[in-house]
Symmetry: C2
Subunit: 214 residues, 2 copies
């Protein structure tokens, strides 16, 4: 599906956004859209859209535009959303509970199969039809179920302690909400970080340094 | 503090990360660090660090390195973390509750002053010493308290309905967890988006397209 060259992360990071916009167009019954109109809706330029999609082979025809259904499905396939990567979530505090209940893992290529925590107050509680399990049983669980992905909703220090265990149990893919830098520790892992406090600080910077209004 | 040129968003987005690393160094009692060592810890190159910091005037001396305390404070000031932007949070579902309880707003330049929801089941509940208020009272609240920042933890459709109200009440700064594109609607707003499902789809892409292991 790909041309030979590696695709830049900035193109890759725009794919989910295309996918969302196409999903909406589909829901609104739009059958076909020009790159110019899609660009307008997304706040991009038509040439950027053509360039982005050309990285994956291109899906439009000159003067005809894109078939919404087709492009939506193709981008879903490129993203790999037809997969079902077995996934565990560790840390069932406020953030972990929100992620477990809020996210449509199944529509994003994942299946959340187990939730772990170390706190006696939380173990045994139900979140999304799953009983929170004792983190002490993590290795046993991994050996039986071979999860591939771990969602980390723990404080940094706890992830530091846990990282080796997860790695030794074969986990290489992480959705990481902590500030522990897994990619610095292990060379062969794939980590997608969500740094909420970085985002909040960036907002603070942008507000503080906004151009003065007249 | 700035040189004349506008600073690129990619440099700005690295600032919170510098801030975090410096905070750790400070906690570990490190007084001084070379750009080479800081680079090693952060997985960057020394020249990138020097370039980044030079955007803000530069803080090191050739052959001497950076004073951790000083650089930490300076970056905090550049980020604007000494501000206290009055902030409201709208949408006290799972995600909103997690954001309200999990985030150290006060250390990031913000003060969370009120939480709103439309659900009768949630209004009146306490989150972080704040009673969740009825969204119907939002305009009255804004007129009395003039909040500057809104954290949006609502579904897209609800944000679409609310956006005009918030804008009409003078709010221009948004930390947006919804998929509603505020910056497309209003030209003079500053929006920092957190698109969790985009991040999850990006992870799916990267796993699916990871180079095969031998």
């Amino acid at each position: 599906m790909h041309k030979g060259d590696p695709i830049s992360m900035s193109v890759i990071r725009r794919l989910p956004r295309y996918y969302r916009f196409l999903s909406e167009l589909q829901q609104n019954g739009t059958v076909r859209i020009s790159s110019r109109e899609l660009a307008q809706r997304m706040g991009l330029t038509a040439s950027q859209i053509r360039q982005d999609l050309n990285c994956f082979g291109g899906f439009g025809q000159q003067g005809y535009g894109y078939l919404v259904n087709h492009l939506y499905r193709e981008i879903g396939t490129i993203l790999g959303l037809n997969h079902i990567y077995p996934t565990i979530l560790i840390g069932a505090g406020n953030l972990g509970r929100a992620v477990a209940t809020h996210m449509a893992f199944e529509q994003r290529g994942f299946e959340l199969t187990a939730i772990f925590d170390h706190s006696k107050r939380i173990i045994g509680h139900k979140i999304r039809h799953m009983v929170v399990q004792d983190i002490a049983t993590l290795t046993a669980y991994c050996q039986t179920h071979s999860p591939q992905v771990a969602v980390l909703c723990l404080p940094k220090d706890s992830v530091q302690e846990l990282a080796e265990t997860l790695y030794d149990n074969g986990l290489r893919f992480f959705w990481n909400f902590s500030h522990y830098d897994l990619a610095m520790k292990f060379e062969d892992v794939i980590v997608e970080n969500v740094h909420l406090s970085d985002s909040l600080m960036t907002l603070c910077y942008r507000i503080t340094n906004a151009p003065e209004k007249e």
